[in-house]
Amino acid sequence: MNNLKVDALVIGGGIAGMQAALDLGDQGFQVALVEREPSIGGKMITLSKVFPTLDCCSCITTPKMSAVAHHPNITLFTYCEVQSIQESGAGYGVAVLQKPRYVDVNKCTGCRQCEYECPITVPSTFDRGLGAYRAIRVPFSTAVPQKAVLDIDNCLLCGKCEKICPVEAVDFNQQPETFSIEATAILLATGFELTQLGAKKEYGGGKLPNVIDPLMMERFLAPTGPYGRVLRPGDGMEPTTIAYVQCAGSRDQTQGIEYCSRVCCMYAIKQAMLISGALPMAEITIYYMDIRTFGKGYEQFYQNAKAMGVEFVRGKVASIREDEKHNPIVKVELTEEGRIIERTHDMVILSLGMIPTASPSTFGLLPSSDGFISLPAINASPSATQRPGIFVTGAAGGPMDIVDSIVTAGAAASEASAYIRNKTGIGVAQREVAYA
């Protein structure tokens, strides 16, 4: 693979990375986008709807995924991992590992015949392990690129996929390959992960089948979800009493996560409203310490949820255990009344906290006290890191929602644009502007 020279390298193909790449590409800069998964889309493509508008997530994300893939100024690298970042000339030299797909992307048409022929079924990470896909598959229905990937660690090596492929795209000869990208600026959009479902032993330690994380509920609520409806994962029952436990992974010194994850109140309220639509008879309770509805239209959204009948109970959940039918029993201290009660639900969702996906040290950067990438001039230059020319967007810099991720993508692209022009001495007017 040839080495590439670009104006900007975006690391991470979630909503923030895609938006930053599009903003820079539209200004005429040459951009490379590197994504570690076989498809771009990030966390957002797995979600059902966004708050506070309840717009369909796929309807927002899929056009951006497609725009990135077809943009004349953006070169997309999926299933790649950044190995190292070294200062080089006027910018950075980045070593990138291309992991083998065992499928020739230039030949694959995404017909999925290999997937249907493959005899091995494995838990789908896209569905948080609740659904299934095959050892060779197109990652999900709207994946970009719409190309198959073979999971060699779960492959029988039976060769059935190779035999059925009508375009002879399966290629067992592929090897990992390293190539380099020279970039004047780098934008980090490495996103977040949730804290572990089993982190708190008091909440079942991840062993109670009907205590789940919020991204699992997102998949249940999405039209492409593993069951095609909301069912509890313990036994496939349509739940009638559902509870949310707020601050189950944030604002918690025992887990070393003292910060607020900022999005949990809103996604719990959003999911409660969506469940009310999907299961009109369901009783939904949200156990909370404080409700934080800071964004535009968020407080009204919260008031709407209350008006719809979602029950908000102020208190701190001490523990969760289950009865003989695997119904979670929540023990909660009602902080305003000063008493402790126990309530049984069909299903409980733990509003887990957000932690960074990538360690800042991977990019030669310092972490701030919360473990996310340090932003030394957050008021004056909110995307700049301590390394000149490396900028941060989205949840790589700290917990944030989709609205803020898109705003910071614009900010990072703008700062990177000014930096590139300064560094290279080339004005935008001299560049070929896309969509002029």
């Binding site: 005899p119 659904g131 779960n154 492959c155 190779e162 000869n173 313990g234 036994d235 029952m237």
Partner: protein, 99 residues
Amino acid sequence: MTTQQTPQSRGDMLKRLREQHAATVERTQVLLREQKRVQQEICKVIRDTPKSVPEIAAAVNMPANEVLWYVASFKKYGLLVEKGMCADYPLYQKAEEKK
């Protein structure tokens, strides 16, 4: 990243890969046998009458959450279909074989 292979060399390559990934192949062979066994048992239970996940789980003597994972997988790949509800549980029946 692609290399053109003759049929002979492709066969050789698969053989070589199987040797390199012997532990994976052994593990996935065991997994495949288990998945086929479970598939046969579940399909037998739901061949004629739609059943809920707990009913299937009792019939095949497996935890209900594991049965649900198989049911989700079979539904995705067209091996079974939903056939109404019984109380709070959806019912599943084996899909008709495509001719």
